[in-house]
């Protein structure tokens, strides 16, 4: 009994993984077996020995061999002929082949986690284990693992679980003590995604503060973007477009589709394009000019009549003020004739 535990005792992490994992999947194939491992004594070994004769991949423990019931030498190489599962890892780090038994997915995951992250993964592994423990609450329901007495499993499992809990508690304590939000940044995450939930739970205040901080940061960033983009104050934008353009180019990657000037010009061009069906481009220029000159030469008046025959226009105006060449003329009636 104790001998059976002996080989994998030094590897406490590896061990619990196989044990509970083996249970459920093994249970199905071994249904033919007497699953009555009532005790945790070696008496359970004998049915397992028979299980092996029944082509079940039970235990390849050396201490099983003495049972004499196994036709195979009890090593991995011998087994594959009988195996229903092909995927038995011959030798995994932290995995004792002596433990025999095929690892389930969960088990393999646990092993992988452990091998990759070692102690740090204790929490996750323990989580896997606890999940498996739920699935298979009765550790005795694993007839295959005769050499592994349930007594041994449970304590080990408990040990692991305790370790995991301790680890998580420690993490939690660290996080609480860590001045995360006050230093202006959400605490950096170094130890896996699981922390997020833990982190959120300790205090709602922290989260609120973090949210605030994030808002502030995003707002600041948005402001930055504005500064380099189109949302300049009107005075600045009109005063010095070239300056704005320079600014945008200085900002570099913020704007990739050309300077501000280009945009504005293209828009104007578009507007002109809409009108271009009716107006010549020359006219547009004239319009601009006449806006400039409007103060110089302008007539404000009422019209009585505006007539047109082909390109000849006649209009009768009244009550007008004419400003020409720096002089003002008023009239009560004016008639104009002009050709277009």
């Amino acid at each position: 009994m104790n001998l059976a535990q002996f080989p994998w005792d030094p590897k406490p992490e590896a061990q619990p993984a196989p044990t509970p994992a083996n249970g459920p999947p093994a249970a199905a194939p071994t249904s033919s077996l007497p699953a009555t491992t009532t005790g945790y004594t070696q008496s359970t070994l004998s049915p397992q020995g028979s299980a092996q004769t029944l082509s079940l991949p039970g235990s390849f423990m050396p201490n099983n061999n003495p049972m004499g019931m196994k036709p195979e030498p009890g090593y991995v190489q011998a087994e594959p002929t009988i195996k229903q599962e092909p995927g038995l890892p011959p030798a995994h780090p932290g995995y004792n082949p002596a433990n025999g038994s095929r690892p389930t997915a969960a088990q393999r995951a646990a092993l992988a986690l452990e091998s990759q992250y070692g102690q740090r993964a204790a929490a996750s592994i323990s989580a896997i284990h606890s999940g498996m423990a739920q699935v298979n609450p009765n550790p005795a329901g694993q007839p295959q693992q005769g050499p592994r007495p349930g007594q041994q499993q449970m304590p080990q499992h408990m040990n692991q679980y305790r370790q995991g809990v301790a680890a998580t508690m420690q993490q939690r304590m660290q996080q609480v003590s860590r001045p995360g939000p006050p230093n202006g940044l959400p605490p950096s995450q170094l130890d896996g995604p699981g922390d997020d939930t833990e982190e959120a739970s300790p205090a709602a205040m922290d989260r609120a503060q973090i949210d605030e901080h994030l808002h502030a940061q995003i707002a600041a960033r948005a402001k930055q973007m504005e500064g380099g983009g189109l949302m300049l104050p009107l005075s600045q934008a009109t005063k010095s477009r070239s300056l704005a353009a320079k600014r945008t180019t200085a900002d570099g990657p913020a704007q990739l589709d050309g300077g501000l000037d280009d945009d504005v010009k293209s828009e104007e061009a578009d507007e002109d394009a809409i009108n271009s069906d009716l107006d010549d481009p020359d006219e547009a220029g004239d319009d601009d000019e006449d806006e400039d000159d409007s103060m110089g030469h302008m007539m404000l008046c009422m019209y009585d009549k505006v007539q047109r025959v082909k390109n000849k226009w006649k209009c009768v105006l009244k009550d007008g003020v004419l400003t020409v060449n720096g002089k003002e003329y008023v009239f009560t009636k004016a008639t104009g004739e002009y050709e277009w």
């Binding site: 404000l300 105006l317 003329y329 008023v330 009239f331 277009w340």
Partner: protein, 114 residues
């Protein structure tokens, strides 16, 4: 272009008199010596007075000729841009020449309907 409070156009505000008056009122408002409402009242008064004066006091007539460059009729407002204009003032019978004149003209019927 009729102002909302009465039936007079406010287009004469764009003439030299109107511009000068508007500037003066702006300055007074800036110095907080008058209310903006008072300025608006002054301007509407200006609209009425200048229209009536032009209608009643002015007797001069003029004719002009030129080549029409641009014409526009929008919202009952005619806008002409005329080049090489020659104005003939009937009182002094002397002519005034301008290379370019912009004419903004509102319908006279509206004022008569008032």
């Amino acid at each position: 272009m009729a102002s909302s409070t009465n039936n007079y156009y406010d287009l004469y505000r764009h003439g030299s008199l109107g511009v000068a008056l508007t500037d003066a009122l702006d300055e007074l408002i800036g110095d907080e010596r008058i209310d903006p409402q008072l300025a608006m009242k002054v301007l509407t008064q200006f609209d009425r007075v200048i229209a009536e004066t032009l209608q009643e006091k002015v007797k001069s007539r003029l004719t002009f000729k030129g080549s029409l460059d641009t014409y526009r009729f929008c919202d009952e407002v005619w806008t002409f841009l005329i080049r090489n204009v020659t104005f003939k003032l009937d009182n002094g019978s002397h002519t005034v020449v301008a290379d370019k004149v912009k004419i903004v003209s509102c319908s006279s019927k509206k004022t008569e309907e008032k």
